[in-house]
Structure formats: structure tokens, C-alpha cells
């Protein structure tokens, strides 16, 4: 794992813009770690599951541009 990735894993997370989400489930379906991203997006507004490896699959596949990465310190 390169240094940038280690830094991201320690400091980053996937957040959702709920106004864009239509709860389609494409994100959950494509998460390699089996995380129900859709539920996290709705309930918490962010994927707070420790299994998340920040692979970006959900961010890239979401057809609505709902998900993005942010720095943990900027997410409250």
C-alpha cells in the first residue's frame, strides 16, 4: 500500500449529499466489502463502517453524484 493510501485510510471517509440520493442501491451492490452504503448514506450521511477500504467503487458508480470523499476532520 502506498503512503497516500495509508494516509487516506486514516483520514478519509465517503460522505453523501442526501438531496441527490434516490436510494437506488447501486453503491451497496458494488461495494467489494459488502457494506450497505445506501443505508449509511441515508442514516448517517457518511460511510462510518470500519470495513471501508476507500476503494472508491461506490463513489464512481453512483449514478447521481451523491457520494464523495472527504477528510475525517472536516466531517462533523
Amino acid at each position: 500500500m502506498d503512503a497516500e493510501r495509508v494516509r487516506l485510510l486514516a483520514t478519509g471517509l465517503v460522505v453523501a449529499d442526501p438531496g441527490r440520493c434516490v436510494q437506488c442501491g447501486i453503491c451497496s451492490h458494488n461495494c467489494p466489502c459488502g457494506i450497505d452504503v445506501r443505508a449509511f448514506a441515508r442514516v448517517a450521511g457518511a460511510v462510518t463502517d470500519a470495513r471501508c477500504v476507500l476503494c472508491g467503487s461506490c463513489v464512481a458508480r453512483c449514478p447521481r453524484g451523491t457520494l464523495s470523499f472527504t477528510l475525517l476532520r472536516q466531517w462533523t
Binding site: R20, V22, Q23, G25, H29, P63, G65, S68, F69, W75
Partner: protein, 443 residues
């Protein structure tokens, strides 16, 4: 006096579900009965587009876990509500069952309308409103050799995409000269059309179906006004939708294009509320009562209706209507007021749309086009009132914020005027500097 309030919700779409959730949050003891013609777990209707293209299995459709549904403590009744005695506070189902209520929510959604030419009821002419139609569509598309799609808006292209995914030769017939002229300008339509042609869709511009024809009641093709015959075994129709008003009208509830409500989602009948695609809600800011057929609007309205039904008085505040959709493989965001022109392909409102988009405004637009990307910003006075973002979506999130919050852009406007092709970069740096939104820090 300690009484348990009886809530009855008609419909099981997102508006009714959101209402049930907010009722339960406000009142743990209330009884909630949900009557719906659909007998399936709660699902996302927009997700049907991805079920059709086989990007999503049906097992992923459910939007609430069994635990969450159980915690809501609702009684689900499958059936069609067809009578309403508003004075007696009683709902009548087909088959004779009657259900009394203290508060009633009508969240019956909207249904596709039939095409306006002969033969539109033949076996093989289809539309997609819900899961059962989506299943049927997929089964038919797998057997079909050639299909004709008529209509417009995002639904027409979702059906085109579904047919392409099944390898069906697809003809998309447009009555007008270009795609979705109600919302798009000529450049935007051309970008989407070019993409469709590249994907092998046969586009027919200025082409009106005279009749659908068949043998023994089964579709075999369409005849066009200009004398052509296109053989097909599937005719996918997306010419518009109409709110389901039968129940409200049966109960004497005031309706126009939808069920009329005030900002508390109250209808003209005491203790009867409406939310979602079926509701035409008065907005005290614009002083207009308009329809939305958007997921996010239905959800917000359902939540507010549920609170008001529970005695928590909350006014519904309309946000800038927004839809993000994929058209011919290109992501498109439409937000706020984007202007209107005639669209002969749509007889009524389409899915995923807001009447607010069509509101005329004293507007000025700026556009910058790079290969396949386009940005159109509609400015009125000192604020951006609407935007269409085609392709590159970096700017869509900040733009939605500028529209939603009516941010003063008078400093930016001369720069946009002078350099329309740099609109994307100018808007991004303006947002970085002026929007104290945590989304601006995302990477």
C-alpha cells in the same frame, strides 16, 4: 383524555413510507395502517431504471431492512382504495372493507398515460410505473427483436437504454425536431442525440406514429404519419404521467392537476392530507401551486405530512427542484428554473420533473461547451435561478448550492459574461471563495 390516533396512509411509495417514519418518530403509540395496491417490500422507483438495464438485481431493490420495517409497527393492507367519506372519516376498499381514520394521507403517486394514437392498447405496447411492469418489460425485451420507443424526458431514454442492454434493435421516434425540448436547448439535445446514435439507436426526428398495428391483438409494428411501417414486437411508451386523483375526487377533495394542498399538506377536506407525485402544493414564496414528480420532493413532503398529521405543525418549504439523471450514458443535472419551450413528445409532465423548471423568468444564460460537456446557467438579477450541467459534473454540486441558497453572484456576472467558455472554472473558484459549504472541501 388519552386517545390513540389512527393514521391511514394510501400508497406505499416513498411519500407514504416517509410519512409513516415521521409519524412513528412523533408518536410511538399511534396506529398506522398502510393501504396499497402494491404488495411488495418498500423499494426505490428510480432504481427500476437500473433493474431494466440489468445493473441491479431485484434483491437490491429493498430500501429498508426487515428490522427497520418491523420497528415502524405498521399494518399493511393490500388493496385498492376507491371510496372516501371525508365527513365520516372512512375509507372504502374495493371488495367492501371500510377503514376508519383520524388522519388520512393520500399518496397515490402518478400513472403513465396511454399514447394518443390507435392501437396503443395492443399486447406489446408497454410503460413502466412500478416493479410489476418493470419485470414484464424485462421479460418482453429478452424475447423482442425490434422495439419502438415514443415519448420523451428521462423515462423514454431509460427505456431505450434497457432495450439496448437486451440487444434489441431500437427505434426512438421523436415527434419534434430534437430530444426533450421542454428542458434542453438545442446544443444539449444534440449532445444526447449524438450519444444515442453512437450507441446504435435509430433516431427518427419529426416522426409521428399514426397507429400501432397488430394481429390477433398482438403488436406487430407501427405506421407513421409520413407513410412508413416499422415492424416491432415491443412499443415502449413514455408520453407523460398524470397524478392518480380518482380517490380524492370520489371523496370530494379539491383537485386541479393534482390534489390541492396548503403548505401543511392539508387538502380541502378536514384531516385529509396529500403528499408526493399526487400533490399540488401551494408555495407561499412563489404563490403558485405546482406539481413535482421527483423522489426527493416526495420524500420531503411525506415527512412533513406525517409530522402535521401527528400534530406537529410544520410548513413544507420547497427547495430548488433538482434531478440528476443519466441520458444516453451521460450524467445530467437539472436544477431550479431552466425555461420552457414546446415539446410535442410529451403530452403531460414526465417522471423526475418539476413544473417549477418551466417557470418563465427574466433570464440570461451562459454556456460553455467542451467535447460532450456543457454548462448552462440561468441568471436572473443577482442570482442563479437554474442550471443544466451535461457531462462533467464537478460544478453541479456547488451550482445546486448557489441556486438553492440564492447566493448573490453580482461580482461574478461580468466575468461570466466576458468569458462564457470559462464558466466552469469561474464558478468553481467563485464557490471555493464564497461558499462556506463543507462539500467544497471534498476531493
Amino acid at each position: 383524555m388519552d386517545v390513540t390516533r389512527r393514521h391511514v396512509l394510501v400508497g406505499s411509495g416513498v411519500a407514504a413510507l416517509a410519512a409513516a417514519e415521521s409519524i412513528r418518530q412523533a408518536d410511538s403509540r399511534a396506529t398506522i395502517t398502510m393501504v396499497s395496491a402494491e404488495d411488495v417490500p418498500f423499494y426505490s422507483r428510480p432504481a427500476l431504471a437500473y433493474l431494466l438495464t440489468n445493473e441491479l438485481p431485484e434483491s437490491q431493490l429493498s430500501i429498508r431492512s426487515e428490522r427497520e420495517v418491523a420497528a415502524l409497527g405498521i399494518e399493511r393492507v393490500t388493496g385498492l382504495a376507491e371510496g372516501l367519506d371525508a365527513a365520516a372519516h372512512e375509507l372504502a376498499l374495493s371488495g367492501g372493507r371500510r377503514i376508519s381514520y383520524d388522519r388520512l394521507l393520500i399518496a397515490t403517486g402518478a400513472a403513465s398515460i396511454q399514447a394518443d394514437f390507435p392501437g396503443a392498447a395492443l399486447d406489446g405496447a408497454v410503460h413502466v410505473d412500478g416493479l410489476s411492469e418493470a419485470r414484464d418489460f424485462v421479460a418482453r425485451a429478452r424475447r423482442a427483436r425490434a422495439a419502438v420507443v415514443v415519448g420523451g424526458g428521462s423515462t423514454a431514454l431509460e427505456l431505450v437504454e434497457a432495450l439496448q442492454a437486451c440487444g434489441v434493435a431500437t427505434h426512438y421516434l421523436m415527434r419534434g425536431s430534437r430530444y426533450w425540448s421542454k428542458v434542453f436547448d438545442a446544443v444539449e439535445s444534440a449532445i444526447i442525440e449524438a450519444q444515442l446514435i453512437e450507441q446504435g439507436v435509430q433516431l427518427h426526428r419529426g416522426c409521428t406514429v399514426r397507429e400501432a398495428v397488430g394481429a390477433k391483438g398482438v403488436l406487430t409494428g407501427v405506421n407513421t404519419v409520413d407513410g412508413r411501417h416499422i415492424p416491432c414486437d415491443l412499443l415502449a411508451v413514455a408520453v407523460g404521467i398524470r397524478p392518480r386523483l380518482e380517490l380524492a375526487r370520489a371523496g370530494g377533495v379539491a383537485t386541479e392537476r393534482g390534489i390541492l394542498t396548503n403548505e401543511y399538506l392539508e387538502t380541502s377536506a378536514a384531516d385529509v392530507y396529500a403528499a408526493g407525485d399526487v400533490a399540488q402544493i401551494y408555495d407561499p414564496v412563489t404563490r403558485m401551486a405546482q406539481l413535482d414528480t421527483l423522489w426527493a420532493s416526495a420524500l420531503a413532503q411525506g415527512t412533513t405530512a406525517g409530522l402535521n398529521m401527528s400534530g406537529v405543525r410544520v410548513a413544507h418549504r420547497k427547495r430548488a427542484p433538482m434531478n440528476v439523471t443519466r441520458l444516453g450514458g451521460i450524467t445530467v443535472t437539472i436544477v431550479g428554473q431552466v425555461g420552457a419551450s414546446e415539446d410535442p413528445d410529451l403530452l403531460t409532465l414526465t417522471r423526475g420533473q418539476s413544473e417549477r423548471w418551466m417557470t418563465d423568468t427574466d433570464s440570461w444564460s451562459v454556456s460553455g461547451a467542451r467535447t460532450g460537456d456543457r454548462l448552462r446557467v440561468i441568471v436572473s438579477g443577482r442570482v442563479i435561478v437554474g442550471a443544466v450541467v451535461v457531462g462533467d459534473q464537478r460544478v453541479s454540486r456547488p451550482l445546486a448550492h448557489l441556486v438553492g441558497e440564492a447566493v448573490d453572484i453580482s461580482q461574478l456576472r461580468p466575468m461570466l459574461d466576458a468569458n462564457p467558455n470559462d464558466a466552469m472554472d469561474l464558478l468553481l473558484s467563485f464557490c471555493d471563495a464564497h461558499v462556506s459549504d463543507r462539500t467544497a472541501d471534498h476531493y
